[in-house]
């Protein structure tokens, strides 16, 4: 069985904004699946349709074989959801937030209490349990929210931009929490992100999105391979020997290679033995960034800007 099956979903807001425009994909059980795309691509909209918060304008969604919207109640029982916006109650303590979540998923009395305490220990929030969430750092809140989404041992955990707005240290901690949970529980994890590095680090499978559509789906390795190969870049004094497919410009020799790290020593040796002096050597791997450019046609940060400009303009118009 697939964890998630999505067929041709379309979402039109207010009969005018087409946020998702015919998206289909499957998510196998037990993997980390990533939706990667710039702001405004429609990631949150897709997630909201999966977690039963939004209705589909067209198309079908099913979670672990339960079809929306008929079996929404079953779906809610087997998913954990961490929204993009902060969802913990800022006026309550960390412990209280967990306790309320535990009770909403049917835990009671002592069992609920013990479970919350165990989760607080696991996430490293034990010391802060009786502090109001308002005083938590961004990373602590994210970890608490993940804890709240885990009280019922969900089969599928869905995280919308789990590290948005976090500093690099907190981001790494949240990654570690997600990985640890996944290894321990073997659940399926779905994340959305607009950080290339995050998708590359966490995901087994990535769908690259732009403006309401999925451009391509694959493993990080496949996606990178589709964008070409890496290369060995040597800065050289003199005339280098021949390499298949290599380019030599302004004293820089670029040799394409499927396995740069392994071939680097032999290339260096060959150039050196030809009598050239090597000034520097480095490896240029293909990144997801390259894959994004190849399949979408623009860099992700350029699209980001474009959509945020559009958003601010829209806001300005509404306020005028």
């Amino acid at each position: 069985m697939k964890a998630i099956e999505i067929r041709d979903i379309v979402k039109v807001y207010n009969k005018s904004v087409k946020a998702v425009d015919g998206v289909s994909f499957d998510v196998d059980e037990g993997i980390v699946f990533g939706l990667l795309g710039p702001n405004g691509a429609g990631k949150t909209t897709i997630i909201k349709m999966i977690v039963t918060l939004l209705s589909m304008t067209q198309g079908h969604v099913s979670v672990l074989g339960h079809a929306r919207p008929k079996e929404d109640y079953f779906i809610r029982n087997c998913i954990g959801y961490v929204p993009q916006d902060v969802s913990s109650d800022a006026a309550l303590t960390g412990y209280e937030n967990l306790l309320i979540s535990a009770k909403l998923y049917g835990h009671r009395g002592r069992a609920a209490k013990e479970m919350c305490e165990a989760i607080l220990h696991q996430l490293g929030l034990w010391e802060a349990r009786d502090r109001i969430v308002k005083t938590y750092s961004g990373g602590m809140i994210r970890k608490l929210e993940i804890g709240q989404a885990m009280v019922h041992d969900p089969k599928v955990l869905i995280l919308d931009e789990p590290t948005i707005g976090l500093d690099p240290v907190a981001r790494k901690q949240v990654w570690a929490s997600i990985r640890e949970l996944k290894d321990r529980t073997k659940m399926t994890v779905i994340i959305t992100t607009h950080y290339m590095e995050e998708a590359d680090q966490l995901c087994d499978m990535i769908a690259i999105m732009s403006i309401g559509k999925i451009a391509v789906i694959g493993t990080p390795t496949e996606l990178k391979a589709s964008a070409g190969t890496g290369s060995i870049v040597l800065e050289i004094k003199g005339t280098p020997p021949e390499f298949p497919g290599a380019r030599f410009e302004n004293g820089v020799l670029t040799i394409p290679s499927d396995d740069c790290a392994r071939e680097l020593p032999s290339c260096v040796a060959k150039v050196a033995s030809s009598g050239c002096e090597i000034l520097s050597a480095r490896i240029k791997e293909v990144t997801l960034e390259d894959a994004f450019v190849k399949h979408v046609g623009t860099r992700i940060d350029e699209m980001d800007q474009w959509s945020s400009v559009r958003k601010t303009r829209k806001l300005a118009r509404r306020m005028a």
């Binding site: 977690v51 039963t52 993009q84 800022a90 309550l92």
Partner: protein, 263 residues
């Protein structure tokens, strides 16, 4: 089936518990809000009672208006609850409740009774002050049966739940904070002034009397006045039925429209 029902009741209680815990971290709110009805009683009440313009039968005007002031305190807490809900939606809090395995009906009921939690806290403060004032400080004669005074609490729960239901209905229809706020304000005054809180219904022109008859607050004030002042509960079954009827209709309407709020 039965276990599902048990689970839903538990969900309602959990949502109410959430509000109680929020309130525990925010005592100041109750204190500040209690000032308003008391000022109302002291200023408006004393002026009106000195002029004796409003016919209130055997009881003093201050005695007549005391239950009305309690009802006002409760109404003002609950009628803006829809804004809190819109706030919860905008902040992401509501999403958490909506993806939990709880039916929309328990969610709306839970939120209505959450308003009751705040209303009870408020009512206890206001009621205590009224009782203190009635011991020779102001011309207020309460019905001297403590059980009747205690019975005002379930009435407070019912009134606030209905008022919150109205507010949530507006929240599901109007969806933005500003609009819900505006409609809350627009609605509070007619609800308050066309109930029997400040003067007997017979004192109003006929078209306002008609409005008073469909105003749920009229029935709430009637119950409160029966318990606090007259001790006459002959109208209580009807009052009670009307309020419960309103609550059921509002909860059903809100649950049906709730999805709209998230779009």
């Amino acid at each position: 089936m039965l276990s599902r029902l048990k689970r839903e009741i538990y969900n309602i209680l959990t949502i109410v518990e959430l509000e109680a815990r929020r309130l525990r971290h925010d005592y100041a709110d109750i204190a500040v809000r209690s000032a308003q009805p008391i000022v109302w009683l002291l200023v408006f009440g004393t002026i009106m009672s000195q002029r004796a313009v409003i016919p209130t039968g055997d009881v003093s005007y201050l005695t007549f208006v005391a239950p009305g002031v309690l009802a006002q305190a409760v109404l003002f807490v609950a009628i803006f609850f829809g804004i809190m809900l819109v706030w919860d939606r905008d902040s992401g809090n509501l999403a958490k409740l909506l993806v939990a395995p709880a039916s929309r009906i328990s969610l709306v009921l839970g939120k209505c009774f959450s308003a009751s939690v705040r209303a009870i806290a408020q009512a206890v403060v206001v009621l205590t002050i009224i009782i203190i004032l009635s011991f020779g400080i102001l011309d207020i004669q309460l019905f001297s049966n403590p059980i009747y005074i205690l019975l005002t609490i379930p009435v407070v729960i019912l009134i606030s739940a209905v008022a919150a239901g109205i507010s949530i209905l507006f929240a599901t229809i109007f969806r933005t904070r500003e609009r819900v706020m505006g409609f809350g304000q627009l609605l509070t005054l007619p609800l308050f002034f066309t109930s029997s809180a400040l003067y007997p219904i017979t004192w109003m022109p006929w078209y306002l009397q008609w409005f008073a008859k469909i105003n749920p607050l009229t029935y709430g004030v009637d119950l409160l006045r029966g318990l606090m002042v007259t001790g006459d509960l002959s109208g209580a079954p009807l009052d009670f039925a009307v309020l419960v009827g309103y609550l059921i209709v509002l909860v059903l309407a809100c649950s049906a429209l709730f999805r709209r709020m998230m779009e």
